[in-house]
Symmetry: C2
Amino acid sequence: MEHFRQQCRDRGLAITHQREVIYRAMSEMRDHPSPEAIYEVVRASLPSISLGTVYKNIRTFLDSGLVKEVSLHHGSLRLEVNTTPHHHLVCVSCKAIVDLLEEDVEPVRLHRRRPSGFQIQRISVEAVGLCAACAGDAGPVRKSAR
Amino acid sequence: MEHFRQQCRDRGLAITHQREVIYRAMSEMRDHPSPEAIYEVVRASLPSISLGTVYKNIRTFLDSGLVKEVSLHHGSLRLEVNTTPHHHLVCVSCKAIVDLLEEDVEPVRLHRRRPSGFQIQRISVEAVGLCAACAGDAGPVRKSAR
DNA sequence: TTGACAAACGATAATAATTATCATCTAATA
DNA sequence: TATTAGATGATAATTATTATCGTTTGTCAA
């Protein structure tokens, strides 16, 4: 938690009790929780906290790089007609998705330990970065707020 | 498009004009569109279609396996405190996410062609399948509707 | 310390994405 | 071609998330 406090100081974020409780909850939850799930845990020790505060601080933590979001496309459903196995390039800035042919990626190999009993059906590779437009001279395209 | 019609017949889905136009639009859009984006394209040739119909048919296509969704976690923001590079196991049934250590996956190699100008920052591997609980004797856990 | 001020909080309203409802219409098939 | 289950369009409802706003609280300089 001292690490958290230092990160807040470095970024000019006030160290509030709510923020500490939210961050601690996120650290202890190993299942990549949703804001709602974090709220439920946080309420146990801070019953008067509001869901809005949880959302606001998650956004603040994201914007300052303190935490990360698992999926870049949670905001809206994205679809594809190509149902054969392939991979994706994803632009962190404009969220564009471009196909990467399966034969252009060497087969992915997992070794050793893996959570027991998990049956892998397919492996999908996401190459995350900047598309040509967003990497261009003009700097990144303004990314949407969510 | 005959392929589409046959798939509909195989699955007992009525072949409506709306469905053909929606499926054709999705096939021609190479950027993994959202329902809203599909709606905009479809309206060009079918101005009286409703957004609800587009959503309903996308859901029908998904349920019958005619199309796929790019991200399994579009419904809600999912977070993680671990900001160091690592990978994920994702359960298609209950959407659980479990970390896969970076050292348990052999480095991913891309070769040859890749869309010009894309700057890759990191490569993330998603091993998609069934977690132990969902693969268990009792059959898959009831997955949420969205 | 304390006091001023910017920032954060809680409550609540607003927005965006998606699903549900329902009366009408149409594709399937007999 | 008549029947009917399923599809459509209009619209209401729900869910996830963000914005607003008056009050409260960290932060920092005096």
